[in-house]
């Protein structure tokens, strides 16, 4: 299997005001990714941007990979101009995936905004018994809601500005959710902005449930060589790209 491969852009379209969905077809056999893993993607054939950018895969079909990405800086700006047919170099799948929920616990997925990009494929692999709490700043920030609905699982949406679903931060919703179903044992899986992850981890600790968070850090290589993506854990620095991006909540020093 080749972890460095060329893929052809099949489609690259905006899904809302600042997010795109890229569908690419690897031109060689590649390893199947595990939910939670990511790819390093060449955003342009230029020395600027120099480095590839890390993206979780959103979904895998038999012969394509899909990435859901936000316009952030110059790499993603150029990425959004990739045209159908163009070829891009990609490295992956990389990192660790979400571990399956231990027996006797139900998976509780918590996505903040773009965090859905990494959790969606995980949700797909789980039986429909999972619950997905999906929060965003406002109604228009939700991504791929149609696809999320199709998952057929319990979905609770919420918005910071009360414009859709429950009102309030997803962290509060998690807290309420756990308090209101004290009998059931959950394993938490969270992906989203760092402050959200910290708050959710705290909630998990308070409710004494285990959980995993998917972290981000600036990356040069994505495959463990540069030591650039360090995150402080209880056992010293670990590499987000190699030992992560998914870490057990109790390992992270916030």
């Amino acid at each position: 299997m080749h972890k460095l491969f060329t893929a052809r852009v099949i489609e690259n379209r905006p899904v809302n005001h600042k997010n795109y969905l890229l569908t690419a077809q690897p031109l060689a056999a590649t390893a199947a990714p595990l939910p939670g893993q990511f790819y390093m993607i060449e955003t342009a054939r230029s020395l600027d941007p120099l480095l590839k950018r890390p993206f979780s895969y959103f979904r895998r079909t038999p012969d394509t990979l899909q990435f859901l990405y936000a316009l952030k800086g110059k790499g993603t700006a150029l990425m959004s101009t990739l045209a159908t047919g163009q070829e891009i170099r990609v490295i992956g799948p990389l990192g660790t995936g979400y571990p399956p929920p231990p027996k006797g616990t139900a998976p509780l997925l918590v996505a903040g905004g773009l965090g859905i990009a990494s959790l969606f494929s995980f949700a797909e692999t789980l039986s429909k018994k999972l619950c997905l709490l999906y929060g965003a700043r406002c109604r228009s920030d939700f991504l791929m809601l149609d696809e999320v609905d199709k998952l057929g699982c319990e979905v609770v949406t919420c918005t910071d500005d009360f414009s859709f679903g429950k009102g309030g931060k997803v962290t509060d919703v998690v807290s309420d959710f756990l308090s209101s179903s004290p009998k059931k044992r959950y394993t938490l899986y969270a992906c989203g902005p760092l402050p959200m992850l910290a708050a959710v981890s705290d909630t998990a600790r308070r409710h004494k449930i285990r959980g995993f968070v998917s972290l981000e850090e600036n990356m040069a290589c994505g495959f463990g060589a540069c030591l650039g993506c360090a995150v402080r854990t209880v056992r010293g620095y670990k590499r987000v790209c190699k030992e992560g991006p998914v870490f057990p909540i109790e390992e992270i020093v916030w």
Binding site: L50, C221, F223, G224, A225, L227
Partner: protein
């Protein structure tokens, strides 16, 4: 096609090596290429004791380059010898270990241990502060540099010693000569250039360490000039490092006088870069109808 070159007593099957700190201990690249195709692997800087490194963020991208402040994170000498070296030994290539210390004694201890363990060469990273001399780096003070190399030379008389020069000096030829006179078998240059990037929104530096080392294509023209100056100043082999991404970049360094090259940031951009450079060099020489890579070393045509 003869791609072999000599660095002191060391024979490399080709002039392409990995730069320290960018190739891990070799494990990470086997998904992409066979490290045995390389002329040599320069291992991440090893210190006497393990070092945990700097807090994140440790890297950021800059125009055609990147900054890093990894903080010399490494497993330390003992773990390296026990855990990493046996693995590295499996590749059919030369293993050169980049070493660093806060005092001459530390460098000497590490060099002796590595020489005893039979590594193929030692590269002195002299961009570290010399605690005995009030923190001035060995690499920017000719006297400290000379003493350091001399001491290591005496401690490991038969080892191949490569001194990695800092670009942070006015006159590279002076430091190149210092390294040669003190008994270094070769010099490699350049290490990263101290630099800074700031986030105009948060007013904070982009790296937790504030400054970091600039590497990548952005510095290639500076590295090339320094290699050219150094190669004219000394008889010992010069190893060129800085911004090499492909075989055409490597040819530039060879023409400037480098006997071999190291690829650093290029490994991140393309994890197959080094093996593609080996192939590309071979194809280049074939196309030019040249039978040995040594025939192009230092052949820059100046007026």
């Amino acid at each position: 096609m003869d791609l072999s070159v000599s660095i002191g007593r060391l024979n490399l099957k080709n002039p392409v090596m990995t730069a320290s700190g960018t190739f891990g201990y070799g494990e990470e690249y086997t998904d992409f290429m066979d490290p045995s195709v390389l002329g040599g692997i320069i291992v991440k800087g090893i210190s006497l004791k393990p070092m945990e490194g700097n807090p994140p963020p440790r890297i950021c991208e800059t125009p055609c380059g990147m900054l890093n402040a990894i903080g010399l994170q490494n497993v330390g000498l003992k773990n390296f010898l026990k855990e990493k070296l046996p693995y590295l030994r499996k590749f059919e290539t030369k293993i050169i270990v980049n070493i660093l210390g806060k005092s001459i004694q530390e460098y000497v201890k590490i060099a002796k241990a590595l020489d005893g363990a039979g590594v193929d060469g030692i590269e002195l990273n002299v961009s570290c502060p010399n605690v005995k001399k009030g923190g001035i780096t060995f690499g920017t003070d000719q006297r400290s540099l000379s003493q350091l190399i001399n001491s290591v030379r005496q401690a490991v008389p038969s080892a191949t010693i490569i001194t990695k020069l800092s670009p942070n000096v006015s006159s590279i030829p002076d430091f190149a000569k210092t390294a040669e006179d003190a008994g270094s078998d070769a010099i490699s240059l350049i290490n990263t250039i101290p630099a800074l990037a700031i986030d105009p929104e948060t007013w904070k530096p982009r790296l937790a360490n504030v400054t970091g080392g600039l590497s990548g294509p952005a510095i290639k023209p500076i590295a090339l000039r320094m290699v050219w100056e150094a190669a004219q100043a000394v008889q010992i082999p010069v190893i060129g490092v800085g911004g090499i991404l492909n075989s055409s970049d490597a040819v530039e360094f060879l023409l400037a006088g480098a006997s071999a090259v190291q690829v650093g940031t290029g490994n991140f951009v393309n994890p197959r870069a080094t093996s593609e450079i080996v192939e590309g060099l071979s194809a280049y020489l074939q196309r030019k109808n040249i039978h040995s890579v040594s025939a192009i070393i230092g052949k820059l045509k100046t007026p």
